[in-house]
Amino acid sequence: MTDLQLWLSAMEMGCFFGMLALAYHLIYVGAGFFNFAIGPYAMMGGLCTSWLVITYDLGVWPAAAIGVAATIALAAATELGVVRPVQKRGGGELPALVAVAAVLFAIQQFAGYLFGYPTLPGQSLASFAPVPVGDITVQPSSLLLIVVAVLTFVATAAWIRFSRTGRLLRAVGDSNQAAALLGLPVNRIRLIAFVVAGFVAALAGLLFAPKAGVNSLSGLHWSLSGFLAVVVGGTGSVWAPLLGGMLLGLVEVFLPYYFGGQSHVYGMLLIALLFFAFKPQGLFVRKVRA
């Protein structure tokens, strides 16, 4: 494990997964469920931006702004238009799960229809020369991804700790019922959680897209990776998603390095099984005593 390049790759993946996991985390805290549409949000942020740049010759920054705004609108629409009405009907977590699965599927199809099905190159917001580090060179987009990821986590942590909305979010996360009883604006907090999560996911997708491009079907895979990261990290703290993402990034890079081939496909399944089985309560595991 001395190859610097591998560590850089693991870090990039880790930052990306971490940001996706952070988006999961925010919605989990605000609304108490895992929004599987996080991956498609990230895809939307990346793909919409690339499409605007390529099709309309728009500058990268305005395109990115539109892409992020569109994703935020999508996240808000998910909450207001789909999840909230469905959850209002009750019936446990299955309706919400099916609803987000439908949203995930619909966003994929819609993005394909709007932006086309081929992979588009990601647009880099940074334009400086590659930075040599040791015997490798770090691409500007990689550097930007890592820096922004860290900043995002710092900002989110500060937001949750110091702002009124952030503290309210934490209160809602502690106990949804209690918060409702106390008269906290639970619905508004939920919406804010979705919006912030949409922003974080869009940013993640936008920054990660230069690495391998983005297409309308990237979302599902990203959703799964982000979900695993949030499970591995736990939902205990704002920083947990970053930890989970980093661990997963290491697995994604070093597992194929040592075992080759498809080992990461089996590896991810194994990690999911092990983690879900041995991670004690506190997660969303149904407690049926066997």
Binding site: D3, Q5, L6, L8, S9, E12, M13, F16, G81, P85, G112, Y113, G116, Y117, P118, T119, P121, I136, T137, Q139, F208, K211, A212, G213, N215, L217, S218, H221, E252, V253, F254, L255, P256, Y257, G260, G261, Q262, H264, V265
Partner: protein, 401 residues
């Protein structure tokens, strides 16, 4: 809520409208040809994972049909394309072929980009319709079972193996590392290609997911194996570019080879880091010394704009239509599928619009691969601008002229 529903309904309607008009606008017209149209079916993947390469040839097939119709058609009758989309979904392929058949198609183009097309073989036998897979390169497609009615144009992987071996010998390469994607299409191709390359020792085979976002682990393993050269086998697209980016960064001094796909997908060249493709050698088929290639290039640039990069997919699509025209003429009409099939098998010495100048395509009852010898192939090198620079100086497939 009501407003939301209304919005969704409007959206759905809008989508429906766009979808409808979009398809009609693409279809070729009858041109100057009169008489009852000859219906040709095309299974194209216009929206699925294979769309990025399927549509390149699909576009040129439409253009070729239009060209034929403008020039009076086949036996005085216009060709009419009916097109269905299988979204690279194998469960859809039988239904798509059946649908084309029910719309009166007399012959088919199998232009689905992925392994989904493998699912077509037995359905073709059921339908009794001859079919051409213009861009197919997987030899198993035209091997038994159910291969009586299916044809491919380009050199297959067996020829590729021969050409690569020549190249390795010329460049003094004894050990080879393979970087491959996990698609079924490529797994099938690898089996045929690598099996035929006994000329080198394959010291490492690394596989990555087709939608991978990182390949540094695979490349690091290749680095550890330290082969003389690296061959990337993939369906192309994002995987190929990521592979080349990573190889360029981590294995600078190694000679890199690739399949045809990277050369045929100009849109993916932009994905690569600056200079990342420089020195990459791919299995090309476009050779501007071929006069027919030149003519086709002019035609395509006129239709698609002067910046258009002609690819082998274009040429293969074009030739597939010309071959079918020839076969229909030989059979005296499209209506007897058996006769039409025999007519395809009787085509010999067709001068292709890809490959080197004297490259020809011939078919017979036992030869469902059109290519005559490896002249259809050419090793092309990428330049520093991430565009093909021209034939690789070290080695070119021998071509008796």
């Amino acid at each position: 809520m009501a407003r939301w529903v209304a919005g969704m309904a409007t959206l759905a309607l809008a989508v429906t409208a766009c979808g409808g008009t979009g398809d009609d606008a693409d279809s070729p017209t009858d041109g100057s040809a009169k008489g009852a149209p000859i219906i040709i079916g095309m299974d194209e993947d216009s929206t699925g994972p294979g769309a990025s390469y399927s549509t390149i040839a699909g576009k040129t097939i439409r253009l070729a049909v239009q060209d034929i119709n403008d020039k009076g058609g086949v036996l005085g009758r216009p060709l009419r394309l009916v097109i269905e989309n299988d979204e690279s979904d194998p469960t859809k392929v039988p239904a798509v072929l059946q649908k084309l058949h029910s719309q009166g198609a007399k012959a088919l183009f199998l232009q689905s980009g992925s392994a989904a097309v493998m699912q077509a073989k037995s359905t073709l036998t059921q339908l009794g319709l001859p079919a051409i897979a213009p861009t197919g390169v997987t030899a198993t497609l035209v091997e038994p079972p159910d291969n009586e009615l299916i044809y491919m144009l380009a050199n297959t992987t067996t020829d590729w193996a021969e050409v690569y071996c020549g190249a390795f010998k010329a460049a003094n390469i004894n050990t080879l590392g393979i970087l491959t994607d996990d698609t079924t299409t490529i797994a099938a191709l690898n089996k045929a290609l690598l099996g035929g390359m006994s000329c080198v020792k394959i010291t490492a085979t690394e596989k990555g997911a087709a939608n991978a976002s990182d390949l540094s682990a695979q490349v690091a393993r290749l680095k550890d194996a330290n082969p003389d050269a690296v061959l990337v086998t993939s369906v192309g697209g994002a995987f190929e570019v990521l592979a080349q980016n990573t190889l360029a960064a981590q294995l600078k001094d190694k000679l890199r080879f690739s399949l045809a796909s990277i050369g045929n997908q100009p849109s993916s060249w932009k994905l690569a880091n600056p200079g990342a493709l420089e020195g990459l050698i791919f299995m090309g088929s476009i050779n501007q010394d071929n006069p027919r290639t030149k003519a086709l290039t002019e035609l395509l640039k006129k239709a698609n704009g002067p910046d258009y990069e002609v690819t082998a997919y274009d040429a293969e699509g074009w030739d597939a239509v010309q071959l079918l025209k020839l076969a229909i003429e030989k059979a005296g009409g499209p209506d007897d599928p058996k006769k039409l099939n025999e007519a395809i098998q009787s085509i010999s010495g067709y001068q292709a619009s890809f490959g080197q100048g004297n490259f020809t395509l011939s078919f017979s009852a036992t030869k469902h691969l059109g290519a005559d010898g490896p002249c259809g192939l050419s090793l092309i090198e990428f330049g520093a601008d991430n565009r093909p620079k021209g034939p690789w100086a070290t080695f070119q497939p021998p071509c008796s002229s």
